[in-house]
Amino acid sequence: MSTAAQTVKPVMPARHYLNDNYGIRSWLLTKDHKRIAVLYLFSITFFFFIGGIFASLIRLHLLTPNGELFQADTYNKMFTMHGVNMIFFFLIPSVPAVLGNFIIPIMVGAKDLAFPKINLMSWYIFMVGAFFSLYAMVSGGVDTGWTFYTPLSSGFVHTNVIVMAVGILFAGFSSIFTGLNFIVTVHRMRAPGLTWGRLPLMVWANYAASLIMILGTPVLAITLILLALERGFHIGIFDPKLGGDPVLFQHMFWFYSHPAVYIMILPGMGVISEIVTCFSRKRVFGYAFVAFSSIAIAVFGFVVWAHHMFVAGISVYSAMVFSLLSYAVAIPSAVKVFNWTATMYKGSVKLDTPMLYALGFIGLFTIGGLTGLFLAALGLDVHIHDTYFVIAHFHYVMVGGMVMAYLGGLHFWWPKMTGKLYPEPVAKLAALITFIGFNLTFFPQFILGYMGMPRRYAMYSPEFQVLNVLSSAGASILAVGFILPALYFTWSLKYGEVAGDNPYKATGLEWQTTSPPPTHNFDVTPVVTEDPYHYGAEEEVTVVP
């Protein structure tokens, strides 16, 4: 089979999900999870660039210590808008709503997700939230920081807090419906023979992230509702004038927002599992451990939230409890890193672009994760909380980790989604530029934080300038690294080589169907008889006609 395919140039299938139906109505009213994934791709790419513009403005402003670009109030809006857009409108939906939506039904052998109409609705809800967010931005912005701490946000600022809160509320509901869909699909729609122990790790990871979405986001919803009520009607339970406790807002906010970071990273880890196995031509080391570590991260992630509040005024006793638990949550992540590394050992490693991003992820996520442990230590946190150390930490895990995973996944499944190959040499160059730019941007920030530069300040002490300039220079390189994929992916749609069903010779049900897949995914329901990642034997999954 495979030898014959190698001598024949692959051709695009005649009918597939992209050309099955034409017209704007067929897209805006689609129920096909693949088309919805593409809709999300456009939306979140747009918000990535919006967030990126704010990031660029921040780094431009921070070139000089006296903050000559913006006034302090405007600078506050810059970092708030950057944070809100990147977190709620890019990172949280990125892998689940784009890659997950596209690939998970195919990975479990289903024709679609459990509730396609709810899937489409989740995109519309996202767009409503996006509209509110954009409206908030153009009508004056928000300047409270993405964390909306009270009583600043509930009583003092004159910016569009409520509008933004509503936007985030909608984005949150969108993620709830995506998570709900994934959970029901994975439980109830797996193909015959596809036991839990044979699921690709991408499914496990997205399933775990979906659990977090379901359990955590509603608490954010009620917190934002209470914030909006407090601000709008001057009733409030976070208001010290009434005897309310502003720290309560932080408890409720972080109860969601800490697990939210695991919503962001877990799907990325799922992507890495897929890429590392494929480009090492080897089964994953310790499948069960990697699978259960996703669940462990989801569960542990819920009991550590107050490590964001060590200096906010919580009791020392509870701070100790949360610090201890925060150390525990690092363990499952470490398990994954060890197992990926062990997977590569004695594997046949091929350094294609997705693998470059995966390797970048493993290294940078490790650094980010370890610095998280620094922050979990009570004594250290007193000094480095609210400094650039924290900023460097979360950018290492979120950008060095998550964005790299997203880009890696996008490259890995781009041929499947579009039927075209991206230009490999340019892509490799872009990956390298991104890696260099990223480290140049954010490594100096660890040092800055350690030296005491506070975050969210429009001005800084002159001795910090050199590192800030380095960081901004790195940001300009990073920007190039991010813009290049946007350009060559678009180019590949028209001029890219046809990919064929399985350009990487990967295992997994998604590679057994055409690229792009037909609307109904499979012509016959597959029956799974193999464990995942059965590399080495070069045999394919048995498909029973």
Binding site: L180, L215, V219, A221, I222, H234
Partner: protein
Amino acid sequence: MSHSPTTIPEHHPALVHQFDSMEQQREASTFGMWVFLLTEIMMFGGLFAAYLIYRIKYYDAFVAGSTSIDVTWGFVNTLVLIGSSLTMALAVSAAQRGARRGAQLFIVLTMILGTVFLGIKGIEYHQKYVEHHIPGGIFGRFDAVSNYPGQEPNIAEEVAKEKERVEKLSPEAAEQASKQIAKQTEIFFCFYFAMTGLHALHMIIGLILMTWLLVQVQRLNIGPEYYTPVELSGLYWHFVDIVWIYLFPLLYLINRTHAK
């Protein structure tokens, strides 16, 4: 291209393309509804957690606030909602048997009881408006005694009397304490309105759902093979009932042994 061949010869009109059988569809839909209810548990739960923290912190104020809301109405409303849960369960049962008329009758009964609940809630809210217990500084007065003569019953007065009687405080200390408690009572009412308000919003959504359901029972050939819309609506309605089952003691019965 044809879809993957299903092994079931008959194709129920309500079977959607992504499922292979009505059984799978029903199981998935029911499970999906439960996952959604899980999110509702967490949303109300967040509110309940905040309530609990303040009840511990400001117990006296919460007692005062709780005492000032009408327990009889709360009790009646609880019975009304429990009744509506019964009628809803009977509606689901009827739908399952294919008794469409019966199902519609019970749905209408459920809606009537739900409306009665909302009506009583309206009466209670009006009472709070008249008594100036609405938080937010516009309609509410939570200051201490004597600032607003002719207005009654002033919660601060009740609290002051309570403090003097129970703790045998000196008049000045009692005065101070009662001022403080009166202010803190505003927090109780924030929770009262937030919790019952969110609940009432869910009731209204439930009534809209029931209206839609009445139409669906007619349109969709509800019967033993397919009664999912009724079952899922029932789950939603029962959940809203359960929230009230907790709201009643938590809001109305904090400590009724001091006053009626």
